[in-house]
């Protein structure tokens, strides 16, 4: 056997640096390709956002008459934005959206966090089935759910109320809230809770004094997620309300009849919370997905 090895050694290329070179090059190439892909995707998303933003801060005149468009608002103006915010029904719908979003945030956290905690901490019969069932609620299109829900809400006298919209949004947000919070709670070692129990806490105190402070940033991120989902949701909001429209429903219902500046400004207002959300939540999401951020 040793003879064979020796022969092979002689046949092998004498310079150890030679075989390493092509590997390095192909890795560089891969990296380059990855960057090209990332840049393309970013441009794909950034360009519409940028154009909407430019239009929002241009004068109404510039939006409707100028062609080609400017790359910077010229002159910079809040006229379009003010026009949109002063349009009939817009401010009430912004307030409605805020209210629905906050109710959704609170409800989804109140229901989702304990469920997430249970999945993270306890092994109970049907745990895996339960996890899959949570996700399958997202398999039903909201289109199909909305009509029977409208009927049900009519029966309960909840139709055309913000609370009804918030309930539907909570249902939509819950799968993510549960799964995200459970991954947050998994990240808090169970020994810390047990240590708290041996140090004089009862279960609730162990949770509030030890687990909650450590999970708080993640929980905040999860709740902002619920808020943004509610802020963006349009279909259920349109079907379940007539008078009490949320902002997306309001924009959608007046889309055909409104002017271009109104559409741009509406789009801008709708995008802003999501962008803020992504900026805030980014590091927690990355942390959750296993990358360490210092």
């Amino acid at each position: 056997m040793s003879v064979v090895e020796k022969i092979e050694e002689k046949d092998a290329p004498p310079s150890p640096s030679k075989p390493a070179q092509p590997a390095l090059n192909s890795r560089k190439l891969m990296r380059f390709g990855l960057y090209v892909l990332a840049v393309t995707l970013s441009i794909w998303i950034i360009i519409p956002l940028y154009l909407i933003t430019v239009s929002t801060f241009s004068t109404r005149n510039a939006i409707t008459t100028k062609w080609p468009k400017d790359l910077f608002p010229n002159p910079v103006s809040t006229e379009t934005l003010e026009f949109f915010l002063n349009a009939q029904g817009v401010m009430p719908s912004v307030v409605n959206s805020l209210i629905v979003g906050l109710i959704t945030l609170v409800l989804s956290l109140l229901i989702g966090a304990p469920a997430g905690y249970a999945i993270a901490r306890f092994i109970f019969p049907g745990r895996d089935t339960y996890k899959i069932l949570i996700l399958t609620t997202r398999a039903f299109p909201i289109v199909i759910l909305s009509i029977p829900l409208a009927v049900t809400f009519l029966n309960f006298g909840l139709y055309d109320t913000l609370f009804a919209v918030a309930i539907v949004h909570t249902a939509l947000a819950l799968p993510q809230t549960i799964l995200v919070t459970s991954s947050i709670f998994v990240g808090v070692p169970v020994e810390l809770e047990e240590a708290a129990l041996t140090l004089g806490c009862h279960r609730m105190q162990a949770f509030t004094k030890i687990v909650l402070p450590m999970a708080l940033p993640g929980l905040a991120a999860a709740s902002i997620f619920a808020f943004v989902l509610s802020w963006n949701e349009v279909f259920a909001a349109t079907i379940l309300t007539v008078q009490n429209r949320t902002l997306p429903a309001q924009v959608l219902s007046s889309l055909n009849s409104s002017t271009l500046p109104l559409k741009y400004a509406g789009g801008f207002i709708l995008i802003v919370p999501s962008l803020l959300f992504i900026l805030i939540i980014r590091r927690y999401l990355l942390g959750m997905w296993g990358r360490v951020i210092k």
């Binding site: 020994e191 810390l192 708290a196 129990l197 041996t198 140090l199 004089g200 806490c201």
Partner: protein
């Protein structure tokens, strides 16, 4: 201070009995070590004692009070966890003072208690730091300080040293032993490390498959293991077990091991013609490199120089035997070796069950 009594503790995990009807009494102020390989149920037993696990059967008494269904905080215990479990979002001071705060002591009492425990564990310089700024050894000290600050009647430790490197572990071992002698709490200490168990415990409970194989003082567990499992688990190298056969020779009892005969106790007379197992520790075998005076001839297979001594793996007939010799003993692989066991230190075990036979 309190006596601990475990009565018929039974705990199922699925269909497996992790702890199978274990009864054990731990005296007031005693340092009891639960020793066993992983999966033997020692940690589960400790968790039943702590109240972190509810046993499926049996009772736990602490200081004559049945605490079986009490939550941990009502048991007057403190526990040190394997991975320390110091709270990362609290300073060292707040960590050590956490239990006292939960007990609603006033500020000066907390301050005083924290300082005392921190000084004992030599972490009083780091009180303002957070656990992330401490080394593993320092975190371990904080965890112990947090436990003893509670001034508990019972101190529970679950492999507290196993995450430390070897040198630090040895240092902490001695330090912990002295500390626990001083505070005098009844201590239950779980470990899989037989050196820790022998070195620290007042008594050792050796566990296997959810049952206690033997409870005794360390030296007794070492010299008189209750069965082959205990003898094989404790000691480095483990005890040698040689298969032999009891025979009668000129009216006296002898054991025949691979054709070699050693005197056997007279009260094994009833076992004439039956198999028996002879247990002997490596250090109780005298080795020479010459055939005179008469010894049992063996062949050296492996020589391991361990600094202070040599560990020889030898072959006696078809059986292998570990022998310890002085570091300068002249030998090598495939050389002949003559051995003379210390006849007073032979142990006699049942060949079938592996249980120690009473020969006195």
């Amino acid at each position: 201070m309190a006596e601990i009594r475990l009565e018929d503790i039974f705990k199922l995990f699925g269909k497996v009995a992790a702890v199978n009807k274990v009864s054990l009494t731990i005296h007031d102020g005693e340092f009891m070590v639960l020793l066993g390989p992983s999966g033997c149920g020692k940690t589960t037993l400790l968790r039943c004692l702590a109240g972190l696990e509810l046993p499926d059967g049996g009772n736990v008494f602490i200081g004559n009070q049945d605490v079986t269904e009490f939550s941990p905080r009502k048991r007057n215990i403190a526990m040190v966890f394997q991975n320390y479990a110091v709270f990362p979002h609290m300073s060292v001071f707040d960590n050590i003072g956490f239990g006292l705060k939960m007990k609603k002591l006033n500020k000066s009492e907390i301050q005083e208690n924290v300082m005392r425990s921190a000084k004992l564990l030599e972490v009083d310089k780091y009180l303002e730091r957070y656990p992330a700024q401490l080394s593993g050894g320092q975190r371990q000290r904080v965890a112990v300080a947090r436990a003893i600050a509670m001034n508990p009647a019972v101190l529970l430790m679950d492999e507290p040293l196993s995450n430390l490197d070897a040198l630090l572990r040895m240092q902490m071992r001695a330090e912990l032993k002295r500390l626990l002698q001083d505070i005098g709490a009844t201590t239950v200490y779980v470990t899989h490390d037989q050196v820790e168990a022998l070195g620290m415990g007042d008594r050792i409970a050796v566990m296997k498959s959810g049952e206690i194989a033997q409870v005794d003082v360390p030296m007794k567990v070492y010299t008189d293991p209750a069965n082959t499992f205990v003898g094989g688990f404790i000691g480095s190298p483990p005890m040698n077990f040689l298969n032999g056969k009891i025979e009668r020779e000129n009216g006296a009892m002898v054991v025949d091991i691979e054709g070699q005969r050693l005197p056997a106790p007279a009260n094994l007379a009833s076992m004439v013609g039956q198999k028996v197992m002879v247990g002997l520790r490596a250090e109780n075998i005298q080795a020479t490199d010459s055939s005179a005076p008469p010894g049992i001839p063996t062949k050296v297979l492996v020589v391991e120089p361990l600094g202070s001594h040599l560990l020889l793996t030898t072959q006696l007939g078809n059986q292998s035997l570990k022998v310890v010799t002085p570091a300068d003993f002249p030998t090598g692989p495939n050389q002949s070796l003559w051995i003379r066991p210390d006849l007073n230190k032979l142990r006699w075990l049942d060949a079938e069950s592996g249980a120690l036979l009473n020969v006195n």
